[in-house]
Point group: C2
């Protein structure tokens, strides 16, 4: 399935119309999140790397033209103007891992109008999903307060490809590992995993299962202790580990029940058995709230495996993300209908200490003591920088997180800092709005 | 990226251990949803077709072995027993489109234990995601009460592959079209789409935009009328359509604001302009609740485009789906820990009229007047039936939906019918539970 045809049909109808009307002047579209979902005090920019890869590959081939024509029930020759169209525009974007706030562009595309239009759906699809999941994972990092986090989400993500991204995005914000073997390989993330309840059940006894596992996997093992009775499972695990002379690098995993109480009893039992080095891993429907309760309650849990709710960003599985035309042929553009007003013109975000951000125009000088967030990532359809690394993205996230104000870090009812518009952006918005309103009264081209 | 390595690492550690311990006896795993999420009164089985394709292709190649070995930081020769492993087991499953209830197996795998274990994660990933989305889409079908539904979700699904499935699953429950060109092609779904606000903004005026669109796309067009002022947009659309002699097959689209009020005013204006044939399409953050309010309020809307909330199954983006060992080497197995009890043994679901279902054992005779839901879909690793069609799945869904009781159809606070266990399943559960509890008191192999 060609990536080029993975698009909304209206991108095709519009692009064709622009070509037929000879509207090939440069257009700038701005991709941003209007409002944060309840329960989010910040977002983590993600999805840019695959988006740039997509744009670099983008080219409408002969077979794509045929697919477009069939979708429109028109002969392929009607769609011929689209044939060979590739992306040769400019992309300015916030690198992955940076914290972004409502209204701040994550990405701006400047390209001949048909191109800039045709790539809309795919860009939104990648950035919306990945920013939503990275932002959820980032909240787990806050909750874990330095404890180890591992991604266990693959079985519940929205398909295998979403699972691959969930592992990548976890690593991007600081997770130490993933259960997903393919993701571990592709992104160089440590792979993690032990045994399921079914493994224990397949043996005559829990002890037989633990001993068989240790035979197959010599060296440190993690044993799942809650298949039948958790306290008995811990005792069995301690006996097996003790008999085999194992300890450092080993762990037990708790996957159900009252994790706090079980972890405390398990810690006591392991310590009493001389297994102070054996760690305790918790899993089972955990999210940032559950991790936070366990961490703040002092549960002796060394590592948390989070899955379902993080990999699906369950409480906010989508963002109110838009891709809006802000300039066409040198003319700033904005949309006024209903409450969804869009500020006109290509933009830049100027980040001050404590995430006191200013949204200004792309060609403004940065205010004193601020840093521009959007960087030129493509020019003439080519990437201007080598591919980003997860380590670099993670370092950016950690640096921004250190500056995040307390009210945005809160897990319960956080509030995001509100970026201020620059004076020049405010003036431009007022001018363009007046121009459109004048045009409403007197239909026709708005005064230049 | 190999599908085989798209798995949780623990499937690999367990499968290897089973092979090393020579535990290759047949195992049956049952895949089912324990409890429905709040707001669901039924589920629509989905994901089976791609799951069967996956199993038919499944084979651990040389490079997969290397990836597994690297994930475990062990030499490839240690993983050699996995090399060449393919799936040659049996699959019994509920065909796509059927309504399923909590506790009812959607699928049962019977295969040598290592194989049955190794395919767990991928099967869960496909069936959980797709059943969640199909079930959400099905609620839109209930709300639309016969009106046309179209999938607009691609920009907000969890990646492009999830978008492809969202379109397929919409069509499976009765949507008339999708905006997703690739999905339209792949699954033979009518493609739908018109123009965005940015298109209108790129022209000197709304009227210029409408006329240009009609020039590029001769014949019936759909015009987006809410970029500036909706009533004015409707008037402009009516004028352009009238001038061009268009009418039947044309539509206007409303994407923001009070859709009910705007649709009524638009209908009046269109009718007054002699455009009674021009339809009204509504979009913009719609879900089953919004569609239901509009339909029951009598809004003159002919078609609803639903996207974000359906494609992400936003209020229930995952299901409490499990893949549990229920029999190994002829011995029924169950898990007792915490509240997550699993009934033992291979099962069948016997559907009675009004979805009064009985969950029994696979080898039971169907009770009078019932129909078994699970069919043998693979035997010896080969599909026993030709690939299913969307039309057949849709027909199954429609037939089951007609039998669905009112309390399960309700959009607000629905309650699902509760399947009854058969007498034989109840007896087996009691016997196995006693056997495990005896074993708890006297550790060792439970009495046979």
């Amino acid at each position: 399935m060609s990536e080029v045809t993975t698009t909304d049909l209206y991108e095709v109808t519009m692009a064709l119309s622009y070509l037929r009307e000879d509207m090939r002047a440069p257009a700038t579209f701005s991709l941003f999140v209007r409002d944060l979902p309840p329960g989010r005090g910040f977002l983590v920019a993600a999805g840019l790397e695959p988006a740039l890869d997509h744009l670099a590959r983008f080219r409408v081939g002969r077979s794509d033209v045929q697919v477009f024509a069939d979708a429109l029930r028109r002969p392929a020759e009607d769609l011929e103007p689209l044939h060979g169209l590739s992306f040769d525009g400019e992309v300015r974007a916030v690198p992955e891992g940076r914290i972004v706030l409502p209204g701040e562009p994550l990405l701006e595309v400047t390209a001949p109008l048909p191109q800039a239009q045709l790539v809309e759906t795919y860009l939104l699809c990648l950035l919306c999903h990945q920013t939503a999941v990275a932002s959820k994972a980032a909240r787990c990092v806050l909750a874990a307060a330095g404890r180890t986090l591992v991604d266990f989400s693959l079985r519940r993500t929205h398909g295998p490809a979403a699972g691959l991204q969930a592992a990548r995005l976890g690593a991007l914000v600081g997770f130490a590992g993933t259960s997903n073997v393919a993701a571990a390989r592709r992104y160089g993330i440590p792979a993690a995993g032990t045994m399921a309840h079914s493994y224990v059940e397949a043996f005559p006894s829990e002890e037989a299962a633990f001993r068989a596992f240790a035979r197959t996997h010599p060296g440190p093992v993690t044993l799942l202790v809650d298949t039948y009775d958790t306290d008995a499972g811990v005792a069995t695990a301690a006996r097996v580990l003790g008999d085999l002379g194992l300890g450092p690098g080993c762990a037990i995993r708790l996957d159900s029940g009252d994790l706090d109480a079980q972890a405390r009893r398990a810690r006591t039992a392991l310590d009493a058995a001389g297994l102070a080095d054996v760690q305790i891993i918790a899993s089972g429907g955990l999210d940032e709230f559950a991790v936070d309760r366990l961490v703040r309650g002092g549960a002796p849990i060394d590592a948390y495996a989070v899955g379902t709710k993080v990999g699906t960003a369950a409480d906010a599985p989508y963002l109110d993300m838009a891709y809006k035309l802000v300039e066409y042929d040198g003319r700033p553009v904005m949309k006024l209908s209903s409450a969804k007003e869009t500020a006109p013109g290509p933009k830049q975000v100027f980040r001050g200490p404590g995430l006191r951000d200013v949204i200004g125009l792309a060609n403004e000088e940065p205010p004193e003591g601020t840093e521009p967030l959007l960087r030129t990532m493509m020019r003439g359809g080519l990437r201007t920088e080598p591919p980003d690394t997860l380590a670099a993205a993670r370092a950016r996230f950690e640096a921004d997180l250190a500056e995040l104000p307390d009210e945005a870090r809160r897990l319960d009812g956080p509030t995001a800092p509100v970026p201020a518009p620059s004076t020049r952006l405010t003036v431009l918005t007022t001018v363009v709005k007046h121009r459109i309103e004048a045009f409403r009264v007197t239909p026709g081209r708005p005064p230049a």
